[in-house]
Symmetry: D2
Subunit: 399 residues, 4 copies
Amino acid sequence: MTRSDATGHRVAMLGTGLIGDFYTMTLHGRRSRDRVEVVYSRSVERGDAFCERWDVPHATTSIEEAIDHPDVDTVVIGLPNHMHADAIATVAASGKAVLCTKPLARTADEAKGILDVVESAGVFAGYLEDLVYTPKTIKALASVGAGAIGDVMWVRSRETHPGPHSAWFWDAEQAGGGCIVDLGCHCIEIIRSYVGKGNRPVEVMCWSDTLVHPIEAEDNAIALVRFESGAIGQFEVSWTFRGGMDLRDEVAGTDGTIWTNHFLRTGFEMFAGGDGGYVAEKAETESGWLFPVGDEVAELGYVDMFTDMFDAIDQGREPVETFFDGYVVNAVMDACFRSSASRQWEPVELDWRHGTTSRIAKPSRSEDGMVVIKEEHLPDGRRKLILKDPAGGFVDRIV
Amino acid sequence: MTRSDATGHRVAMLGTGLIGDFYTMTLHGRRSRDRVEVVYSRSVERGDAFCERWDVPHATTSIEEAIDHPDVDTVVIGLPNHMHADAIATVAASGKAVLCTKPLARTADEAKGILDVVESAGVFAGYLEDLVYTPKTIKALASVGAGAIGDVMWVRSRETHPGPHSAWFWDAEQAGGGCIVDLGCHCIEIIRSYVGKGNRPVEVMCWSDTLVHPIEAEDNAIALVRFESGAIGQFEVSWTFRGGMDLRDEVAGTDGTIWTNHFLRTGFEMFAGGDGGYVAEKAETESGWLFPVGDEVAELGYVDMFTDMFDAIDQGREPVETFFDGYVVNAVMDACFRSSASRQWEPVELDWRHGTTSRIAKPSRSEDGMVVIKEEHLPDGRRKLILKDPAGGFVDRIV
Amino acid sequence: MTRSDATGHRVAMLGTGLIGDFYTMTLHGRRSRDRVEVVYSRSVERGDAFCERWDVPHATTSIEEAIDHPDVDTVVIGLPNHMHADAIATVAASGKAVLCTKPLARTADEAKGILDVVESAGVFAGYLEDLVYTPKTIKALASVGAGAIGDVMWVRSRETHPGPHSAWFWDAEQAGGGCIVDLGCHCIEIIRSYVGKGNRPVEVMCWSDTLVHPIEAEDNAIALVRFESGAIGQFEVSWTFRGGMDLRDEVAGTDGTIWTNHFLRTGFEMFAGGDGGYVAEKAETESGWLFPVGDEVAELGYVDMFTDMFDAIDQGREPVETFFDGYVVNAVMDACFRSSASRQWEPVELDWRHGTTSRIAKPSRSEDGMVVIKEEHLPDGRRKLILKDPAGGFVDRIV
Amino acid sequence: MTRSDATGHRVAMLGTGLIGDFYTMTLHGRRSRDRVEVVYSRSVERGDAFCERWDVPHATTSIEEAIDHPDVDTVVIGLPNHMHADAIATVAASGKAVLCTKPLARTADEAKGILDVVESAGVFAGYLEDLVYTPKTIKALASVGAGAIGDVMWVRSRETHPGPHSAWFWDAEQAGGGCIVDLGCHCIEIIRSYVGKGNRPVEVMCWSDTLVHPIEAEDNAIALVRFESGAIGQFEVSWTFRGGMDLRDEVAGTDGTIWTNHFLRTGFEMFAGGDGGYVAEKAETESGWLFPVGDEVAELGYVDMFTDMFDAIDQGREPVETFFDGYVVNAVMDACFRSSASRQWEPVELDWRHGTTSRIAKPSRSEDGMVVIKEEHLPDGRRKLILKDPAGGFVDRIV
């Protein structure tokens, strides 16, 4: 960064829902030099309340007016999923930078259209996938990149809570699906980040069901995503979880293991005999044992995400999360829905841009002409070998 | 129990491997009134060492001699999987009680044969599935039974470690498979216990692969088991996990959540700058941060398992874990292998003995003629409702 | 153990309070060969209910009759503190074994009298300090004994909960004090076990106060106990803690660290949306996030404690916890009360029976004629030394 | 904040040690609008390396030159303790804002002199006590302020690690003491924040010893700080802890409990079979089970601390942590050293500026003319009361 960048960016925020609040809390927090200049809402009342709440100078009920505001250089899309494509097309036409909340679209086709539009226009486009930017994930990914756990074989990403806060999420038409679209998009990108973004997602096996809520969309789903290297991603998403918001990732490598817990167990525990007040997003109770989160927008990745986005604009580079990533996520989700219906593995259909990834290495060593399967150190200092005879059969040997 | 039972049982232990050690440590521990009277091993040396180690009066290299020992009333099978059927048949013929380690057999067919033999003979038969008997699981199951978490929707059971200690485990021929057979059998029975043992396992979707070890058997697998109620079981098993033995179960109910951790995080943490000595089964290191387990045989369920088995014999009732349970587990594992090959959901083929289970309840209430999807309490004391209009569409409403 | 011991012990249980229940649940649990034969209670009704509850053959309202029951060989004292001395004297006169709950007495003088009585009579006497016998503590002590954490420098033992269940605990006259006597006795013995029981407690600094309850006895106290080796013990006890029963120990050694958590965080977590039923001793709520304990009597040490006591009788050896230990605990508590009043360090007045312990070792090494204070490994592979010049002053050096 | 503040502050950083690095990493991190303009170091080499490392425009070996740099409006003191007073006096004379690292001084006398100097000069002065600003602490303090846990009775603040990184820390002359001065200063201010900064620290009882290192300064200390309300603070500090940096706070209130863990157990766990690389400040190992911290400067409070400091300057208000707070901390530490020598409680000698605080409330209610000591809900739905008879004695009653 050069010091002249210190003037910061001026943002048009489209949408005043929970995500608009979180984004603006982040943009205006700490000693940030970036500011929301104008907010769009369908409702005058909600727009004005938003300006009041976050000290934003202007509100408007016109998306175009928000985008075209002369002081604005960057537009943040915080709208329901079915409105992304049109809004992004308008921003692209304006030539300004566009940052879009997750998921990018409702289907891979729609996402591909969005991707084509911004690429044709040549505007900066960033995909606001916050959970890839949590401080824990950033450091864990750096360790994986440095080889600390060897080749990644398996990633579990879990996001479950008691259900979203706004009506449109529950409407499969507007949202493009249920908890797979709402939560699975996070998990898929976390998984991709750990197995390597150049590691192609090949096929998907998915189960989904509507177990509790009187809706058409799925309120529970589990999927396996198989990558070209042989690595397997596993996501679990639910709108029926009880106890708060469960955000955990687990990674198994050939040489190590990583577990991160972003929300319910982060080293902050409170027992409130009476009324403990607001605890954390989607907490269910305000008394008894509670598990608050220190700084939610930081722990959920918003701070580091916007830092990457604006630094990328300033430095003329791509952000860590691009619209291509958003498109890949939609392609995996499409395969999930197909698999859930067909009840078998379904290929991920995708215009892949990266290269190929070789199979996870399986090096072996020999001892006395036999392959060493396992070596253990015994309490008495000796070693126990489990060996495989090329002629067939396995033997134990103490050495 | 009547006081005359206090004389206890006399056991023939078949096998001197790790499991024989754990079983005998349990049987001879605490103030137990039961004793191992005779041990069978193919090897004179190992039999004698076992007698010495556990203060057992007799060793023999003949299975028949061990079973027929006049003081023995109960035979424990701690042999490799491919030897179970013959050994159990011999015990059945003797009329004595038989307790068999997990898995019962290598296939459902073999298990059904075993079940028929003991039922024809009319002998007491107990299935030594220890992890269903861990103190945490017993109390958690009691809470589930009391309705503390509502209807069980999802159970995750995970057992992973760096691989087994004896050569025969690695030989698919002798073992009947790899980590599915070694570890999945535990998970399946834990899952069944939480969703209800009368809840029929209907079908299975399984992924398996051999990612690290130079063997034919699978060293990693994940499976989904769908039950008649709609509940889904998920197991993750691996012989390539790094960091010790990961034994965790997670249960999601319509009204609550249960998480149990049996091994690596149980409230016992030690940093050893130098050499900390033996830590726990399958621990990988003896310095740095270590996570010992207080009383392994208790925490792994062996104590409560044998208590149930012998109390059941004394009281003339069935144990909690029967050979029928072992047979169901084998039937689910068979479906896992078929699914892994066919790459689609496979039915669990089984002579089911219990009744039918109805679908998880999905009760709903209405407000103003609309279905309530979700209700949240806002910080200002008001309620936010998300409602579904029968005419189509979802709306937010603050009341 | 020889097999003829298998006939077990027959116990007279004096007292039907919470502790009598826990002891009997333990004695009759698992496959135990020991049984309570007769119970004493002041109240016919409570005695009969106890017999019914635990399948005990006989109840009596006479302590003498209970002790003299012909089938009884061991008497367990589960009475309020002020009744210990007389009851133990009666057992001693009978020549039977006596096991006394904690604390042994209300003061060191009273404890010394009790000790003299049982030693004169030559009867077996065991001090029922259960928390030294928790499975985690037993294994942790073994690791400390094996040198895993070097010399023990500091032990924190904490026991806090919302207050005891029976009226007599709250009466300083009958109990001999408040939470120091009720809970501190556990902590002191845990601390002694970690620093070494042959390590003399030299002096004590104690703060106590009555912060919440309308009573005369202290409801909060903190004490430091300095041992001959220089090691420091720290206990925190409270009857005003909110959130359940907090039972944690922390140990710092020159080469390592141990943390044990016996109750509130043991790897068992439950969220109950409705009513979860009984959770654990002193749990405050039955819904929200709950932290049950798998097998309370095992986790609290009762199982291993009675195993040690009866095995010691059978083997003709001393138990791990003796009446001398109980006397030492009382002497430390006496010093606590004196210090709390005098507001300064007070000596522990005690007829010490063990030898002396040398000061914690402080070995040092030199490099270039300077003493090495600290050595760090830098990320680039170099070492950073902090050195002390014999001529005075400290310097950093990268090597 | 008004938008014209967005130009940010220009800082002179005095000192290039670990703390200078952490501060500058924070000031230049995220989307900050504040920048370090000039750095002072005794060493040209270290100053230049610092400029290179953090993209700082100017280095100087003259403190005066750094302070007087025309673009600089704020000076940060990151020097050894014995240099604080002179450097602050120089800044005060310049009229610029001064932010000083902890501890403010080596003694309360020295701190009072510093306080007088900045107050006479009328400059903005902020005390850089980062751990009061950790995200968890900020939220926990807000909950305490909102009454979530009632009156605070007890606070434990613990900071222990294997010893500091620079030579001067180990020299009691330059530092003013050992781990009390290095670490206790944090704990004291955390404790004050929880019990209320207007709650006067009345007296202190402290134990300290030099158990491991060949130095004169204390390497271990424990202190109790009694406040006017009756609340008790407890701090544990050590330079001999093994296993990383242990930073935990525990708070007991009349209605609730708070536990925060800032470093070793924050929901991020990694097992590295080989070499895991840099883990976290003061981590001892790079393989085995490791506990990294997501974003260290955020988790340790640096981000929120500088936000408060610069926002306070911009808004013309006092920061949360003032030089008066630094002076109070020094006064408490002075009492610690006196108490450690006198072996009794020592008063905190202090020009107190706040008012008085009343004793923790002890409300009680009566039932049938007796005082209710405790009320429990029994499993069968009845209530058990423990009552105190005004005539003397305590009784149990089931109602």
